[in-house]
């Protein structure tokens, strides 16, 4: 009886693991095969990896798109860390009734779906284009500016700040640090793991962001990686090997971040609920 239970447990988990991993396996194997083999369901690695890469780089500028995505995601992450941690720290350390009210109002923004913001933001950036073209429509700046501050991240930093030992601040004040000095010299180095977790979540979501770049970026040279993949995938006669190659390339940065920082990643996700 107990043995059967054990066996069915392993069976369920193995099945789940198989279903979860299989698309990755298929995508990687397909990136090494010719399109025709992919359609025939070939599941063993082939010898067309370099052909697929050559076809890909000659038909679309994937490195440019990777560069755009990297620029946007890294800028977003740095700005988000700075602004959200300052705010999370401010709301918790300099707590007051008025600030608590403002904080709860900020949290309401988490309920606003991006689709609802898309149209007014697009119009707003349309107007900005007339005065500051470098921040207007079809610029990487326009992707970053409205997306990097999220109430979620402020909430996340505030929750983590609750664990921060305030005695350190008192000690810093004794040493003559300014209020901003306390933040940069004491709080920031102490909270490294919180920053790591927050940076991972922000980088991932920025790298994968699709809707807003789709709306605001128009010229091909400004395309981010999700836009490029989406375009490749919507063609009528798809070259499967080549598209899978593009998908594999686009997944490498997030996969690396995940595997190198797995611990922080999970801590970051879970930290927000506690």
């Amino acid at each position: 009886m107990l043995k059967a239970k054990r066996a069915s447990m392993y069976l369920f988990l193995s099945l789940a693991a198989f279903v979860s991993i299989f698309p990755f396996f298929w995508m990687i194997v397909s990136a090494t095969n010719q399109s025709v083999d992919v359609t025939q369901g070939r599941l063993i690695p082939g010898s067309h990896l370099l052909d697929n890469l050559r076809n890909l780089t000659s038909s679309v500028d994937i490195w440019n798109a990777m560069g755009n995505s990297a620029k946007i995601s890294i800028t977003t992450t740095i700005l988000a860390m700075l602004i959200a941690s300052l705010a999370g720290y401010g709301f918790e350390i300099y707590r007051s009734k008025a600030k608590d009210i403002v904080f709860s109002i900020l949290l309401l923004s988490m309920m606003i779906p991006f689709a609802a913001l898309m149209v007014p933001l697009y119009r707003m950036f349309g107007k900005i284009t007339n005065f500051f073209p470098t921040f207007g429509i079809d610029t990487p700046a326009a992707v970053v500016i409205p997306t990097f501050t999220t109430a979620f991240l402020i909430f996340f930093f505030r929750q983590s700040t609750k664990m921060f030992p305030r005695e350190l601040l008192e000690a810093g004040r004794m040493d003559g640090l300014s209020e901003l000095g306390l933040f940069f010299r004491i709080y920031l180095p102490t909270m490294k793991t919180t920053y790591a977790a927050a940076a991972i979540i922000t980088f991932m979501s920025s790298w994968n962001n699709y809707m807003w770049p789709l709306v605001i970026l128009q010229s091909p040279e400004n395309q981010t990686i999700p836009l490029l993949i989406s375009n490749l995938g919507s063609g009528y006669a798809p070259d499967y090997g080549m598209i899978m190659m593009a998908i594999v390339i686009s997944t490498v940065p997030t996969a690396l971040v995940f595997f190198l920082m797995q611990k922080h990643f999970v801590a970051g996700m879970v930290g927000s609920v506690k």
Partner: protein
């Protein structure tokens, strides 16, 4: 809880001749400076646009030629077949996908929480792995896997579950099933992590006590595990509900909303109204407000069903 005043007031500038009132004012001001940038940015890019959208939702026209339309846009919602289809589709996804995913996530987390389980790390990482893919990338992979001559049909036919290929993408019913399978694949492992951390916080002695009292495993699950996981169930169901109400990337890239409008969602309809058809920003804003209202109502219901906020 220490107040801001005592925390900041004992700084090096707390000269005795400085009145306590001005010090309090100063520390209050410092606090506001810390939060100012974030408050301004959220106000500018969330609340201000929502006010703009509210004004737009009463207007009609294209581009800059907008004119006041009263409640016309809101009336149009109730007779707009595409909108009603999009709402129905979104609710079908919500009703089937969210419970399915939450039950699976909970089930896997309970299995993984077993102390004697081998290869725990492997199983956990494997089931979580889909969460690292971009929505667009996995959507394209699923679109090809579920193509009429794709691998899923080939496999099912090989093991004789079906005789003819299923039209996963082009049949109105199966297209919805495909979307539900795809989202479940992408998000089950992600949600599972929350349940795992919740389970790890449950004191094992509670289970031991229950076992001594003769409670069966099923009884333990329903009387101990579920009640203690309630905050996590609430959290995951609210975030998943909000996520599903905003569903966009998957339908855009797997089915494009088709066949017909069989898989289209409210977000996709807003996008189409604004950027694909004739830039009907006013009506698009009206449709946007319908999702906002749905999110508020559903989150409220979930809080109520789950009992008090701090459960």
């Amino acid at each position: 809880m220490k107040t801001a005043n005592t925390a900041a007031g004992s700084g090096k500038n707390s000269n005795t001749f400085q009145s306590s009132r001005s010090r309090r004012f100063k520390s209050g001001l410092v606090g506001w400076l810390f939060v100012a940038a974030a408050v301004i940015l959220i106000a500018a890019f969330y609340f201000y646009p929502m006010i703009q959208a509210l004004i737009l939702s009463f207007q009609t026209g294209t581009g800059i030629n907008m004119k006041f339309n009263g409640l016309g846009n809101y009336q149009r919602l109730f007779t707009d077949k595409i909108f009603l289809t999009a709402v129905t589709n979104t609710f079908i996804y919500l009703l089937f996908q969210v419970p399915l995913m939450i039950i699976l996530a909970m089930f896997f987390s309970v299995l993984l929480n077993d102390r004697n389980l081998k290869f725990k790390g492997f199983f956990r990482t494997a089931i979580f792995l889909p969460a690292i893919t971009s929505l667009v990338a996995y959507s394209i992979v699923f679109k090809y896997l579920f193509a009429p001559d794709g691998l899923v049909n080939a496999m099912l036919m090989n093991i004789h579950i079906i005789n003819a290929p299923i039209q996963w993408i082009s049949d109105p019913f199966w297209a919805k099933v495909t979307i539900i399978i795809a989202i479940t694949w992408r998000w089950t492992g992600y949600n599972m992590i929350f349940y795992l951390s919740g389970l790890q916080n449950i004191d094992q002695s509670i289970y031991e006590a229950a076992r001594i009292d003769g409670a069966s495993a099923v009884r333990q699950f329903f009387s101990i595990t579920i009640p203690l996981l309630k905050p996590i169930i609430l959290f995951t169901s609210i975030t998943s509900t909000i996520g599903t109400l905003q569903l966009f990337d998957e339908v855009m890239n797997i089915t494009k909303g088709g066949p017909g409008n069989a898989t289209t969602t409210i977000s996709q309809y807003i996008y189409n109204l604004s950027f694909k058809y004739s830039a009907d920003f006013g009506y698009a804003a009206t449709v946007s407000y319908s999702i906002v209202i749905m999110i508020i109502i559903l989150s409220f219901i979930q809080f109520k069903v789950a009992g008090d906020r701090n459960a």
